[in-house]
Amino acid sequence: MSPLFILKDFIFSAVSAGAFAILFNIPRKEIVHTSVSGAVGWLIYIAFFKILQMETIGVFVGAVSVAFISRVLSYKRLIPSTIYLTPALIPLVPGTEMYYIADGLLRNDMYYTFLHTVRAIKFAGAIALAILILYSVPDRYFNMFRKKNP
């Protein structure tokens, strides 16, 4: 985890989240916010993975932080939180695992398929749990972030 490594990962995860945001036709003013929150989520995940070797916990904590940032931003800027959440979660989502699952299925390698299916279900479950927890927090705890005089 050298500083250069952190900088490189920060830049490229921000670029990937921002580019997905543009493909999802995000309002122009929100591109930077969603890129940064995607990069924060990815950095937390990679820190857990590289330092502590805990992948699923990393995805969970990363998704919790992304969901928290999205909810705070949605109160601050009076915009639905989906706008920030959807592109910022993309780097964490097990998209490549789905490719490996289909790859194993079509090559008839069942051990490989099973391994990646379990990983994909664990990661998707971690993300679902993170969203559920953050969205169960009542509104009143987020009201302090609300924009004054809307």
Binding site: W42, L89, P94, Y99, I127
Partner: protein, 254 residues
């Protein structure tokens, strides 16, 4: 009164359809439709599945009760639209807009434009580049994926003009990626074709389908959740099928 009922059901269904076509999550659509209908009567319900919306108004008086549904055909992700529709629904709820004004605004939202195609192409390239580097590829691999990503973007924007099954689109996407990755490697650009292919697949891979499946499941909309999870498997099988066709042909020829 009865005309009023038809109008408000039509407005709620239109709103639900447009939100579903822009990729909003199931819970938000159901909540928005019920919010609109609650301006007419308190016992209103809506039910949303990934391919259609249902809305119902229930009264003790049978002539004032009704249930309607509408099916959608075209689905993509458009976050700006979700934001505008959410705004219209909130204003309608606060009686700042009446039905005809809201319908006019819906028409305006329909005419909203997307980002310019050149920017979208660049985004396909940048996504491929960024994920190749994040998955541990070298800078030279990143450069090759950028080119492959732009070629994939051209193919996707071209295919987007026709109404074809997403399975065909994904198979063609997989073929394009693998073919050009191998071609670039043949001319000495890039180091490892596996890393280039994995990175360049990221614009196609069902990341959005998995996120929305996870969210719908978490909020208890299990019908949409399982349907979207199955969609994610379907998409990835399509992509991988395209990749493996080209890799197999290569091993047969070479």
């Amino acid at each position: 009164m009865s005309e009023d009922k038809d109008e408000i059901l039509d407005f709620a269904l239109q709103m639900g359809c447009m939100m579903l076509e822009s990729g909003a999550e199931t819970q938000r659509i159901q909540w928005t439709m019920e919010m609109i209908l609650s301006n007419y009567c308190s016992a209103a319900q809506s039910y949303v599945i990934p391919t259609g919306v249902f809305a119902g108004i229930y009264n003790t008086n049978a002539t004032a009760s009704a249930t309607r549904f509408r099916r959608i055909t075209d689905r993509r992700v458009d976050l700006e639209r979700i934001m505008m529709l959410n705004d219209i629904a909130r204003r309608f709820k606060r009686h700042e807009l009446n039905i005809s004004q809201s319908m006019e605004r819906l028409e305006k939202v329909k005419q909203m434009t997307e980002f310019n195609p050149w920017i979208r192409l660049l985004c396909y390239g940048l996504i491929s580049l960024a994920f190749t580097i994040l998955f541990g590829g070298a800078a030279y691999d990143g450069f090759a994926s950028f080119i492959v990503g732009i070629l994939l973007g051209i193919a996707m924007l071209f295919l987007g003009k026709f109404r074809i099954s997403s399975l065909i689109t994904n198979i063609i996407g997989g073929i394009v990626i693998t073919f050009f990755a191998l071609l670039l490697l043949h001319f000495g650009i890039g180091l490892s074709y596996i890393k280039i292919i994995t990175g360049s697949l990221m614009p196609l891979v069902p990341g959005f389908a998995i996120t929305s499946a996870a969210r719908d499941m978490a909020f208890g909309d299990i019908v949409s959740g399982t349907a979207k999870a199955a969609e994610a498997v379907f998409i990835s099988v399509g992509i991988t099928f395209g990749v493996l066709i080209v890799l197999h042909l290569r091993s047969v020829i070479m």
